[in-house]
């Protein structure tokens, strides 16, 4: 796709119609931009037969509108961390986007030659209706994290359900619910990982980058849920000695973490709110950043 088309939703819609592309595969946030700003109703997309999306949760209201605007295409939700590649799929039916539904569509069932299951905290396979953490077995499970044997040992584990031969599974960190249909529904993360525009982000890594600056006394980064891009990142910094500016911190941060991890705003403050045990009170910061996010919602 030409770069100058991707950034402009109205042009992108026109481009899809004119090129007659048949299969579209992207993160949901790209499709949400099209639904919101692309004026999709102005063109026909007769060639488009299949729309696949993966990488983040697709809020149902945008998927519903997309399916109303382009009703003849098939829609599929794919799921899979980088460590396994795509491992489940769900073909969305029109009945899945009924007006009263509020939860996202399921991530579905295991792909061919792949096995997925959800285990409870005791390592038992969960029955339908219950939540558990999702584990994956397939030939594309990674060997491990480069130079991180500890992280590898924590996530690539022997399969407890098979004692006949050596066999590994990947622990995704994703909590899912097993539906009576046999499909899995994504529930959330076990840890603090957040996703923004389909990118996986550990807030602690951004905080570490900020702390690397000699003028930073305290730093905290919070994620504000945003249904269009997943999460917006806001940083809070207490400066130590010397002058410190927001743009200096932004630049410093961008030299240490990828662009998608640089907070869109870094607030300088005299102190950070603390919990009764003296930890940085992330809840209070989250509420504060939600107010900021509401003020600046696009």
């Amino acid at each position: 796709m030409p770069g100058d088309v991707a950034a402009f939703p109205v042009r992108l819609a026109q481009w899809i119609a004119e090129t007659g592309i048949t299969v579209w595969y992207s993160v949901p946030s790209a499709l949400i931009q099209l639904v919101e700003h692309g004026h999709l109703d102005r063109h026909n997309y007769d060639g488009l037969r299949w729309v696949l999306f993966a990488g983040e949760v697709f809020p149902i209201k945008y998927l519903r509108r997309l399916m109303q605007l382009i009703p003849h295409a098939a829609y599929s939700n794919l799921y899979g961390p980088t460590e396994t590649n795509v491992c489940t799929y769900y073909h969305v039916q029109s009945s899945d986007v009924s007006p009263e539904r509020t939860e996202p569509v399921p991530i579905g069932k295991a792909c061919a030659n792949t096995e997925v299951f959800a285990l409870d905290e005791q390592g038992r396979v969960v029955p339908p209706g219950q939540e558990g953490e999702l584990y994956v077995r397939c030939s594309t499970v990674m060997k491990g994290y480069w130079g991180r044997p500890d992280a590898t040992a924590a996530t690539v584990l022997p399969n407890p359900l098979n004692r006949a031969y050596a066999d590994v599974m990947y622990r995704t960190g994703d909590i899912v619910k097993l539906m009576p249909s046999g499909d899995y529904q994504y529930v959330g993360r076990r840890d603090k990982m957040v996703k923004s525009r389909g990118y996986r982000i550990e807030l602690g890594e951004i905080e570490t980058a900020l702390y690397a600056h000699s003028g930073v006394k305290e730093a905290a980064v919070v994620a504000v849920p945003d249904e269009r891009i997943g999460a917006r990142l806001i940083g809070y910094v207490v400066p130590g000695e010397g002058a410190l500016t927001q743009s200096e911190l932004m630049k410093f941060c961008s030299e240490r973490v990828p662009r998608y991890m640089v907070p869109e705003r870094i607030e300088l403050c005299g102190q950070l709110p603390k919990t009764s045990t003296g930890k940085i009170d992330k809840k209070t910061l989250e509420n504060e950043s939600k107010l900021y996010a509401e003020r600046t919602a696009n």
Partner: protein, 87 residues
């Protein structure tokens, strides 16, 4: 009638450099194609547009979000001037 703020290309440029790309090295001038150079992408464009709407008190419609209006500082400036002309 209060006088409208001047179209200050330097402030737009500063906004792009400090809030969108965080990188002094990646220099660009009034005619640089911001999209082709990878200086702004689809998501930062949304933030740039909010910035322009707030600072110049104009409404940017979906139809306005096209390369002809936003691919360089000069084009952004002409677009703002055009939009602020009295009807």
């Amino acid at each position: 009638m209060p006088s409208e703020p001047q179209i200050d290309l330097a402030s737009i440029k500063t906004f792009i450099r400090t809030e969108l790309i965080y990188d002094d090295e990646k220099d660009f001038d009034e005619n640089t194609n911001l999209i082709e150079r990878g200086i702004i992408d689809s998501m930062s464009l949304v933030r740039l547009i909010s910035f322009i709407e707030e600072n110049y008190e104009i409404q940017v419609q979906d139809e306005d979000i096209v390369p002809e209006n936003f691919s360089s500082l000069n084009k952004i400036s002409s677009f703002i001037a055009e939009r602020r002309k009295p009807a």
